[in-house]
């Protein structure tokens, strides 16, 4: 049996104040284009860069075995590039390679838990209302315990030889990319024009490739609920973002989510994506690859990589 301890208003205020006034050891710096991107080692995603090439499905992006083979005799025309996909687990500093047994990327079906009716307290923190279940027709004050997709993002690392730069686009979700060298300059930089170091959107072009610092060739992809949200909003004619703040909206939205997310195919339909990667080689040639993000019957995300 839990030993419930009452928390007074003053105590809660103090905790919240302490929490919101915590002083990080760092102060972010706004970055400038005036600082050159220096080639320094970056350790931010070091753990995520240790894995080997991903599993492939339906075809290979050219010659990944060749790249790793010491006895390779390939010409420049045969060189391709490698895409390695990781699941960035929320509570892990190490990216987990997709489609491995340990990749915990499981979507959940949202549910609504009925809350007990609100308690009332006096100024000393003593409860002055009875603790009763909701009565007929009464709505809880706050929704909670609504579950959802359990993964943050998928990291895509581009590697290979003689690569000048690469472009990346997605038909769903969005990318987030930061030049890691710039992050190493973080505490020394100030100024304007962040765009050179920080890019976000469903299409990012001209990402420079740095063979000495593979961390600079990692792009994070995030899923988007936009497709699902738009559909539900059109169906119900309401704002899905109110889902969390309004019980009646949640009651209306939740069955619509349940209907739409019955299987792995449904999750793939709404949250999956086809990502196109175009590599610009130093000799001016282009090479295209495709990464498909899908979900299996257990809800694990997978990345299948093919030549485009």
């Amino acid at each position: 049996m839990r030993n419930k301890k009452m928390i007074s208003e003053d105590r809660l205020d103090k905790m919240l104040k302490n929490y919101c006034n915590r002083q990080p050891e760092y102060c972010f710096n706004f970055k400038t284009e005036e600082k050159a991107m220096k080639r320094k080692p970056n350790f931010r995603y070091a753990a995520a860069c240790l894995c080997v090439a991903t599993m492939l499905c339906g075809g290979f992006i050219a010659l990944q075995h060749t790249v790793f083979s010491e006895n390779s005799d390939s010409s420049k025309a045969d060189l391709g590039f490698i895409v390695t996909a990781y699941a960035a687990e929320p509570n892990s500093s190490n990216g987990t390679k997709l489609n491995s047994v340990d990749a915990k990327i499981s979507p959940f079906i949202p549910t609504i838990n009925k809350e007990l009716s609100s308690r009332e307290y006096d100024s000393q923190g003593k409860q002055i209302s009875e603790d009763n279940p909701l009565s007929e027709g009464e709505t809880p004050t706050v929704l909670n315990d609504v579950c959802g997709l359990g993964f943050d993002n998928i990291s895509l690392e581009i590697s290979g030889e003689d690569i000048e730069s690469f472009d990346i686009t997605s038909d769903n979700g969005y990318f987030n990319y930061v030049n890691m060298d710039a992050y190493r300059e973080y505490h020394n930089n100030e100024g304007t024009n962040i765009d050179k170091y920080f890019k976000k959107g469903n299409s990012i072009i001209d990402i420079p490739f740095d063979s000495e610092n593979p961390n600079n060739s990692i792009v994070n992809w995030y899923p988007s609920s936009e497709k699902l949200n738009n559909e539900i909003e059109e169906t119900l004619g309401l704002n899905v973002e109110d889902y969390y703040n309004d019980y009646e909206t949640a009651k209306a939205v939740s069955p619509e989510i349940d209907i739409r997310l019955q299987s792995a195919e449904d999750f793939t339909n709404y949250f999956g994506a086809t990502i196109k990667i175009t590599v610009h080689h130093k000799d001016g040639t282009l090479e295209n690859g495709r990464v498909c993000i899908t979900f299996d019957e257990k809800g694990y995300a997978g990345a299948s990589i093919t030549k485009a």
């Binding site: 839990r2 030993n3 419930k4 301890k5 009452m6 928390i7 809660l12 205020d13 905790m15 919240l16 104040k17 302490n18 929490y19 919101c20 006034n21 915590r22 002083q23 990080p24 050891e25 760092y26 102060c27 972010f28 706004f30 929320p90 509570n91 892990s92 500093s93 949202p110 308690r119 004050t141 706050v142 929704l143 909670n144 609504v146 579950c147 959802g148 997709l149 359990g150 943050d152 969005y174 987030n176 930061v178 100030e190 100024g191 304007t192 962040i194 765009d195 920080f198 976000k200 995030y222 899923p223 988007s224 609920s225 936009e226 949200n229 899905v240 973002e241 889902y243 969390y244 703040n245």
Partner: protein, 166 residues
């Protein structure tokens, strides 16, 4: 103060860092938000109305950017510390943290991270700078009554969750 953003950045980056760190679930999200906020402030400075103090205008951009980043409404339960070091640094930065109360703050962190964005924003703004409900209403451009309602709901939820965790 004119449009010399170097001075603005120097004066407000520390507080903006704190706000971003409080709003976001992890450092990299906070850094992204920080950068985007300054970008937008610089690009939209011509629209700045000096009747509103600059810090409130800046924080208004920050919270609106935060609210609009990703409509992925499945993100609620991702309480992310990317590494043990990040988790240690997080808790070391809380005033009055001790061995006895660290679990409580960890629970508080989880609970606040799970709050709906709209409630989390008002809670953070309230305790980050001791803003009044009127100030918060001004920053968010919403009625003061809405601010009060969200604050009440958020605190009731937080208290209930903290008590039930013990």
């Amino acid at each position: 103060m004119n449009g010399n953003f170097d001075e603005y950045i120097r004066l407000y980056s520390a507080d903006l860092t704190r706000l971003c760190v409080s709003l976001c679930r992890n450092t990299s999200e906070a850094e992204d938000l920080f950068q985007e906020t300054w970008c937008k402030a610089i690009n939209n400075y011509s629209k700045y109305n000096s009747s509103l103090p600059f810090d409130k205008w800046l924080y208004s951009i920050c919270v609106n950017t935060y609210k609009n980043t990703s409509r992925l409404f499945y993100n609620r339960f991702k309480v992310s510390f990317r590494s043990e070091e990040e988790q240690i640094a997080f808790f070391n930065s809380i005033p009055d943290i001790s061995y006895e109360n660290s679990d409580e703050y960890f629970e508080l962190h989880k609970i606040i991270s799970a709050l709906p964005k709209k409630q989390r924003v008002v809670i953070i703004l309230k305790y980050f700078k001791d803003y009044s409900t009127k100030d918060i209403a001004q920053i968010l451009d919403i009625p003061e009554g809405t601010v009060k309602s969200r604050l009440y709901s958020a605190k009731a939820y937080i208290r209930r969750r903290l008590e039930n965790e013990k």
